[in-house]
Symmetry: C2
């Protein structure tokens, strides 16, 4: 019984897309790492367990960010008046070239992890850089923090600046070293195969990575169809493939293992069909897509067609790690998409986006992002009393107000897998 406890408060989570489960002054019972259940009244069998009473506060699942670049955190908010390719060259690549330096990496990475914590992100899928040692360091820092993550050493061996161009074989050797060393080292921090994108990986490298993904049963993350210039470049590099997605597919990097593709702003019908069939996740990154003039991904259509979708900050293309801000940008993007598609692709409302930011992206981690029985208990305790409220609001409205007008100051407690997580150390 000492393994069992309950949180009391205003519980909101999304079991289904577009529908809140709401328990006013209800209970979520946790056993070890997992949710045992949610209850309006505490059942008799639990009458002796410890109850933490959060009173009128709101308890929601932790946020899940399924695409973010840790080293680009150093560039947060800078240079966001360029498109993808010039931005990579002017800001991103020079920054990423620094991560051979372990002291610098420790400074930026620990600050990055602290900020994820601050904004209530409890799980993340993270790009590091090509450097294996600082990638390992990032995994160590994540584990120490208590947050959950997939972390990828980035692979790049073509069309990249000299300092970031690996030899194909070395890139594969370094990747495999991490898979061996870190595959089972930590419980909630795991490696992920991370070819940067088709442009920066030669076919041999991509095939090698596809092979490693299957050999070690490790997931894959990359970028797909973010920007028109990028897509044209991929077409030039691979005239033999019918579209961008099929390049990854040929290389064994498209859904053979669980896979995330960031952006998908300009995917065509064939790509959508392939993603739906192979259950490839889209990391929808509207903040970044706005900032880098990429356009607006057809999220409503992707969802309707059965493609799994999660939300993503895509820092540094995105300028904030706050998933509530990403939810707002997603709503805004979907509104404009609705206008652009002559009212065919319906806007995404707050409850739909809340689902994507919790259970939608959480599905990539297994049973994460909900308070259903058997889910890992990741949660945030939100105190909205500082938000200016002048009348009775429903709990759904209070959550909406927090998402639109609150910030990190409103998040009072964070849990990951049943454990309260303190502010991570910063070096």
């Amino acid at each position: 019984m000492e393994n069992l406890y309950a949180l009391k408060g205003n519980i909101i989570f999304a079991k289904e897309f577009g529908k809140y489960e709401i328990l006013e002054k209800g209970y979520v019972v946790v056993e070890g790492k997992l949710v045992k259940g949610t209850f309006e009244e505490l059942p008799k069998e639990f009458s002796n367990i410890k109850v933490i009473d959060y009173e009128d506060k709101i308890i929601i699942p932790g946020f899940v960010d399924i695409h973010v670049h840790a080293p680009q955190y150093a560039n947060l908010g800078l240079g966001l008046d360029k498109e993808l390719m010039p931005w990579l060259e002017a800001y991103t690549f020079p920054e990423e070239a620094k991560y051979f330096d372990m002291d610098y990496s420790r400074k930026v990475y620990s600050s990055f992890v602290k900020d994820l914590w601050k904004f209530g992100t409890t799980r993340a899928c993270v790009f590091a850089t090509i450097h294996k040692n600082s990638t390992k360091l990032l995994m160590d820092i994540f584990d120490e923090s208590g947050l959950g993550a997939y972390i990828g050493k980035v692979n790049m061996d073509r069309n990249s600046p000299k300092e970031l161009t690996e030899k194909c074989e070395e890139s594969l050797i370094d990747t495999e070293e991490i898979l061996k060393e870190y595959g089972s080292k930590y419980e909630r921090v795991k490696p992920i195969i991370t070819p940067r994108f088709v442009v920066s990986c030669c076919p041999e490298l991509m095939k090698g990575l596809g092979y490693l993904a299957k050999k070690y049963n490790v997931p894959v993350q990359s970028h797909l169809s973010e920007n028109a210039g990028e897509i044209n470049f991929v077409k030039e590099l691979h005239p033999e493939c019918k579209n961008y997605a099929s390049v990854y597919d040929c290389m064994g990097l498209f859904g053979e293992v669980p896979t995330i593709m960031a952006h998908c702003v300009l995917v065509d019908e064939n790509e959508i069909e392939l993603m739906a069939r192979k259950k490839v996740f889209v990391a929808h990154s509207p903040t970044s897509n706005f900032n880098l003039s990429s356009g607006i991904a057809p999220v409503r259509r992707l969802i309707t067609r059965g493609v799994p979708v999660g939300l993503a900050s895509d820092v540094g293309g995105g300028h904030t790690l706050s998933m509530t801000k990403v939810i707002v940008n997603s709503a805004q993007a979907s509104n404009i998409k609705w206008v652009e598609t002559y009212r065919v692709d319906k806007p995404l409302n707050t409850s739909e986006l809340f689902y994507l930011a919790t259970k939608g992206g959480g599905a990539f981690f297994g049973k994460v992002g909900s308070f259903e029985e058997g889910y890992e208990f990741d949660a945030l305790v939100v105190d909205d009393s500082s938000l200016t409220i002048f009348k009775d609001l429903s709990l759904a409205e209070r959550l909406q107000k927090f998402i639109y007008t609150g910030d990190d100051r409103n998040i009072k407690v964070r849990y990951v897998a049943g454990k309260e997580i303190d502010e991570p150390k910063c070096y």
Copy 2:
């Protein structure tokens, strides 16, 4: 000489659209309410004046918000999954109907003004409601706070819910009462003629308001071409007019006195030409236009054609009073517009938007929004040391980082017309 003082720090302002004036550890000399000049080194003639040294902090002009609805502050962040007309009916009108109640008005309005202060807005053009007494109260609260504002009693006598439908004559009498009583009551808080929009004002009311504007030489603010449904409604109401803008024009409400029109998302070529000729200001409100699925205003084109433009939060269509967040949304909107127009309407960069958020909107208030000689000294002192900075940044980059990643916590001191302004009282 006791009237003279200087601020020392990293001074950034925009004299011209798209160009920063930057003085690293420079001086801005203030005489009474006005800027005397900015200097790299303090000139000999000022060697004896008091110098407030803000060290490495950044000193910028206060932000100017040229379109915001004070009563809608109570709905901040709520219901933003509707379009204009249903949103007005479900959220806005029921809220605005409450402002006959002076206690309730005092509570919301003082909280609203405190939040404007918090986010560094030093001047605002504000819609109140139809209620004259609480409109006067709002002017009193503004004056007490020290912030500058134009504040309008809203006029509505058709197509509105019963509680918000005035009689035409009474609406004009109430408006004139405020003009007489408050025209010269306060130095920096002034009345402004505020027909809600064509839809809610009969021709007689609009003509009467046009007459009052000229008689008392008072500016005008309203809404123009925000949304397709609204425009169709205006066409039905006024088939005799060739477009929406010309309805206002016929009524003497379009540039006879200084005029602001909010939104202008869907203005046509003739309307743009008329606005440029009559120097009618556009209150560009991208956050609101995103939230209410209105679309994206052609801001680059408006500016190129010579229409004066300022930025606006449009709370409650916008969900934040923060003008830095409005700058970011403006950049994002302009990026998408660029994609939508097949790269004809160039994106707006940070220095262009900083100009619009300070001197651009400030021009409506006279010499406001810049540190040029003779400008009223409205300023913010920004401490960006809490923002994660891992390398040397230029001052322009530090400002960009504050705009994209900072918040109210970074604003340490606010000045309006030469006077430091403390946190306003909240009732």
